[in-house]
Amino acid sequence: MTITINGKKTVLPENEGRTIHSLLEELDVSQRLYVTVELNGEIQERDAFETTPVAPGDAVEFLHFMGGGC
C-alpha cells in the first residue's frame, strides 16, 4: 500500500491492521513517544494511536518538538 508520509509517497508492505501506533514503530520515527501525528490534515489524539487505522492513500505528517533557539 502507498501512503504519503511527510509529503512523500511511500510504499509499505500490505497490512490491514496498521495503526498510527504500529506505523510509528515500523518507521522507527524519532521522538516516537512525543511526536505529534497529523492524519489527513487532522491532529490525532495520542490516546487513540493504537486504535486509529492507517489506510492506503492516507497522508501522515509527523510534527517534532524543536526546543532550541539559543
Binding site: Q31, Y34, E61, H64, F65, G68, G69, C70
Partner: protein, 271 residues
Amino acid sequence: MALTDSQIERYSRHIILKEVGGKGQQKLLNSKVLIIGAGGLGAPIALYLAAAGIGTIGIADADSVDLSNLQRQVIHFTPDIGKPKVISAKEKIQAINPDVQVRTYQQWVSAANIMELISQYDFVVDGTDNFAAKFLINDACVLAGKPYSHGGILQFVGQTITVLPGESTCYRCIFPTPPPKDAIPTCSQAGVIGVLPGVIGSIQATEAIKFLLGKGKLLAGRMLTYDALEMKFRDVTINRNPNCPICGENPTITQVRDELELLTVCDLEKP
C-alpha cells in the same frame, strides 16, 4: 509625523515597494515588537527588525554573552563576552539604526512578568531556547490575544509558525503538553549549525514586518519546517485543534503558569 529626508533615504528600498510605501514605513516606525531571547534566533530577528525601522524593539534575556554563543548569535561580538546579551544587542541595534528605541529586560520571562511585558507590544517573537518559555509565550499570547511568531531549531532542522490567537492554530494545538524534561535534546546537548537560526530568525522577522504592514499571507495555520542538510522547506497545513487545552472548545488553561519541571541546562544560571 512625516518622514525626514534621511529616513526617506534610509528606507528608500522599502518605500519603493508598493506593499510598503511611505505609509507602511511610518507604520513600522510606529510599531512595537518584543523579542524574547537574544540568542541564535533573537540575533537575526533583532538585527533585521532594527534595520527595517521598527520604532520600538523590546528585548528580554537574562543571559550574558559566552564564547560558545558567537558561532551563531551574530548580534554579539567577541569583545562582548561577559556582557549582558540585552545590552550587547541594544548597542548593535542603535548602531544600525538610531531611529529605533530599545527597551531591555535583563530577565527571564515567567508567569509573573509575561502578561505585563507583552501588553506593551504589537507583536511578539519567540527566540527562546527551552520548552518552558515556548509554552509560556504561547499561553500568554493566546490569553492576551497577542499575535506572535514561534521558532524552534535543533541541529540542522528548524520550524516556525505564526499564531493569530483565536483565529489560527496555536503551539498547543500542535503540541498540547510539553515533552518531559530531557526527553528532547537542547542545542547545547545536540548541537546546531550556526546559520540555521539565521534562516529561521529571518523568516520570523519577515512575519513580524508583514503582520505590522498588514500585507501578504502570514504563516498562520501552517508550520514551515526547514531541513538544512536536505536543503528543503516544507509547509504543513495544521488546522486548529478542537481539543487544544488553551484555544480549543473546552480550554483547561485559563491563566499562565510556569512549567518549572521543564527548566533546562540553559536556565541554570537563572538568578
